[in-house]
Symmetry: C2
Subunit: 176 residues, 2 copies
Amino acid sequence: MVASGRRPDRLATDGGEFARLLAENERYTESFDRSALTPAPLSGLAIVACMDARLDVEEALGLRTGDAHIIRNAGGIATDDVVRSLIVSQQLLGTDEIVVIGHTGCGLLGVDEDGLRDRLAAASGRRLDIGFGSFDDLEASVHRSVERLRTHPWLKRVPVHGLVFDVTTGRLLEVD
Amino acid sequence: MVASGRRPDRLATDGGEFARLLAENERYTESFDRSALTPAPLSGLAIVACMDARLDVEEALGLRTGDAHIIRNAGGIATDDVVRSLIVSQQLLGTDEIVVIGHTGCGLLGVDEDGLRDRLAAASGRRLDIGFGSFDDLEASVHRSVERLRTHPWLKRVPVHGLVFDVTTGRLLEVD
């Protein structure tokens, strides 16, 4: 069972999480043999998903190394930066299908944006003029992102799917 | 060996890649048991990485489901949208360490941005005023992103590491 937001052993290891990552990577290289892969994703897919730690995009979708571009941000929202990434994905690396993934229990559901802006302004001494992408309706949020990507003038007219990932079951529900 | 940018069997399957994803997810749910995980990443880490298909962030870093926020875009660049995601990650979900990952053979290395803008403008009939984030020096690009995140007024003063992933060996090299 997970009792808190940290691994129990986190503070007990010298060097902390970052040293552990480098050690894990050393092991990873021993079995790594994907030198034949090119930058163009094998499946032609570009995935747009939330950054949430409980969503392992490759495992949940059965994707292998080299299969798909994976673009992730807070909320899995089709921001301008996602559009930039998708232009690069389509124009330079040939992807021709998009999957947008939101998820249950998202940290952006019902966030008090004014409160967050006030807190950051007080801490930094600088007023914030940005939005954080919070939403009240998960499926509606996925739908908005799907619609933006389906109609954006600089993106190709390719299939765009919308899914919701259930963090308690691992199941993907098609919503668009 | 990979001969082209597509799986050989791609066009032979009814419904294509998307149907395969849903079938893979059905299998995934059968062994899924992470219902005790909360939105707060267990390791306290937020990873910022390129969307490249050859970089499986979880596997390359030995991360397990629930461990870390994973933010990805074209280039693994610290854009405004990455800053937005990191504010959410730090303020709402308690992460306190950042790892930025660029990689060899990135599709954004040395891109002719003017040519790409002209091509998109011709196809869409609308002039583009955006940049794509291309760069000529991989380590310098990682360094710029690390510096921006270390000094950004709305981000906490937490450790920020810079790594380069070698797509031919799977190895991570610490550059910042």
